[in-house]
Amino acid sequence: GLAGVSTRVGVMDKSRPLWDNPVQFVFACISYAVGLGNVWRFPYLCQMYGGGGFLIPYFIMLIVEGMPLLYMELAVGQRMRQGSIGAWKIISPYLCGVGVASVVVSFFLSMYYNVINAWAFWYLFHSFQDPLPWATCPLNSNRTGYEEECEKTSSTQYFWYRQTLNISPSLEVSGAVQWEQALCLTLAWLVVYLCILRGTESTGKVVYVTASLPYCVLIIYLIRGLTLHGAVNGLIYMFTPKLEQLSNPKTWISAATQIFFSLGLGFGSLIAFASYNEPSNNCERHAIIVSLINSATSIFASIVTFSIYGFKATFNYESCINKVILLLLNAFDLEEGSLTADNLNEMKDYLMATHPQEYAQLLPQLKNCSLEAELDTAVQGTGLAFIVYSEAIKNMEVSQLYSVLYFVMLLMLGIGSMLGNTAAILTPLTDSKVIATRFPKEVISGVVCFINCIIGLIFTMEAGNYWFDIFNDYAATLSLLLIVLVETIAVCYIYGLRRFEKDLHTMIGRKLNWYWKVMWAFASPLLIISLFIFYLTDYILTGTLQYQAWDGTQGQLVTKDYPGYALAVIGLLVASSTMCIPLGALVTFVRKRLKRERVSTVA
């Protein structure tokens, strides 16, 4: 008999942290996927590409592209139980570059995305004043009127461009770091650090809040929005389908792009989240749930946005009419109340007939007020979130409450997405034995947050918003398409669809439906290739890239060309992530060659 074998605790590997229950995993995915894009991009697309009719290409793309690719990423993560770098290395050693590319893109994203949270904090802190600071223009130096720049544009735009961003007239004029924005950015990073500090243990609890709170606020806003005066105008405008837009190829491309980027595919966050699952988790069901909830949220958010649009457009239209009435009353000394919105046109003709000379003098100042023109001003991005919404909020009663609710919602959406981004960066780092054994995960998270915060200070400079637009438009778009294309081809053709099917069967216990197989093998790759070709041709055809710069003297945006070094940065952004894929394959190939030679010389 042998002596009892003693087992020593230190030698055995620490088990991988897991989500406490599948609900945390679903909430984490929802919190990551449902982000600012659902609120500020989808309503714009809906408006531009045919209103209610846009839902048709949107749902088709969801079924062809969204659900299959989401399921694939979750399945890869759950099967390989590693972050993006490790997972793709297991699929094929030559594909470690894909994982690295995902990490690089996530890194770029987290650099600039948290600045949005900083802006949300700024607006949130300013919501505790009465009246709201963006409700009125500040006075000029001799107090006889309002600031000139504010007069030319509106008070909300002035607050955004001058008091929040303090934007410079062009990209070349960098300006100084705005200390207020830098403070807000630091706070935003501290909040993110707090949430990711303990890994899934802390993230799992935070996502309960970040996933559910935005829905509460959206419901409150839905009720408030639908009861606003003029909301119906916006809703009718949005939902009347303009089916002729379906023949425009841009409609379909926008639908495909929106589904793709809205779900956050290719960043490695979904792989990271799924790697913390129990191996027997039913990720097929979760993939369907998450993608459906994501799309439903987009539609829900656009109903709210369009009621707000309708309210704002009606308010502006009525203000415009009132201004015209006042002008005519003052010029012709007519009795108050004799001119109303209803009889305005007849009275205008009457005045033109009776006092032709004075009317002709007045004519340049009389604006033609049109409700359609107000509704037509389609806005997306930060403009929608921070200008249009704050303009609508300032005209509501109890505006402070609605303002606080709204910016807390933006914060929850933004932080939820940031949790996914940082998970995509941290999971490969904590998986790698080299780093994880030397440093505890609090230190790794801290270092990553610190580096991102320091680099993010670029976006708090006066020209920061222009750099933000560069990152927003170019850092992730092309690279992600390529990454997901390589991922799909790798899973289907390099790893083998049958092998993957068998893996899923052992994991989940259900046979793979033919729908998934067809989408993975044919439909999704073809779609991504066509999107990729479209983007490339679009970039090549437009020639020089341009951006919108704020001109303070005119009080509006003007188009300018990017300077040389900005174009170089754009090129570097795209190249640094896409080049990782072939470089990774090359490095692995060279390493294997060297190892083979070393082995052959030794033996």
């Binding site: 008999g1 002596a3 605790v9 300013h126 309002y146 807000c184 500090l197």
Partner: protein, 213 residues
């Protein structure tokens, strides 16, 4: 007739006034009639008297002209001491600026609804607290977040120290255990009295018989 001539010749000393009573008061709006005009003249006379103690402006010195339905009209202030001359516009302007509030309140109107067209009103500056409100809220949130981070980090360090201590204790115990708790065929060696056992002499270790390596 006389007043009309005054308005024409001394246009720079005449001021146009515009009232927007319905906009300001809505349903409580009063009609503009001769009584209101009388009040206006009285207010202007009061203003002139208040501005400079020298003047003894009477209500009859204030002349209104060209009252329209808009409710807008022109007025001049004459100087009774110097016959048929009007008080310089700059004086009237300064007087009205000084007492604008009193005039507004007499008519239940504001700077915007009772406009003196040539006299631009200074806008009231917004109330600004000494420390901006946003900094206070920022400070509160920052302290909470930093406190939470410090708490979690310290808790994490303590947890890790405890785990390390536990695992080293367990290791120490096991090493000692290997000496005491070895099990031989299910029977702990302690119960076997090695001394009492029989030693098989055949198998005594005889080193000389084995070839050394």
């Amino acid at each position: 007739m006389f007043a009309f001539l005054l308005f024409v010749s001394d246009a720079q000393n005449a001021f146009k006034v515009r009232l927007s009573i319905k906009t300001a008061l809505g349903d409580n709006a009063y009609a503009w009639d001769a009584n209101e005009e009388y009040l206006f003249k009285a207010m202007v006379a009061f203003t002139m008297r208040r501005y400079s103690t020298k003047t003894t402006t009477q209500i009859s010195n204030v002349l209104l002209c060209n009252v329209t339905d808009r409710v807008s009209f022109w007025f001049v202030v004459t100087d009774s001491s110097k016959n048929t001359t009007t008080v310089p516009g700059s004086e009237v302007e300064a007087a009205i600026r000084m007492n604008r509030n009193r005039i507004n309140n007499a008519f239940l109107l504001s700077d915007k609804t009772l406009q003196f067209l040539k006299i631009s009103s200074t806008l009231a500056p917004p109330v600004e607290p000494s420390t901006p409100v946003w900094l206070i809220v920022f400070g509160v949130v920052l302290c909470l977040i930093v406190a939470a981070i410090v708490f979690l980090v310290v808790a994490g360090i303590q947890q890790r120290k405890k785990k390390n201590k536990e695992s080293t204790e367990r290791e120490n115990l096991e090493e000692k255990g290997e000496v005491t708790i070895t099990i031989e065929n299910g029977i702990p060696c302690e119960t076997l009295d090695l001394k009492a056992g029989h030693i098989n002499g055949v198998f005594s270790a005889d080193d000389e018989r084995f070839t050394s390596l």
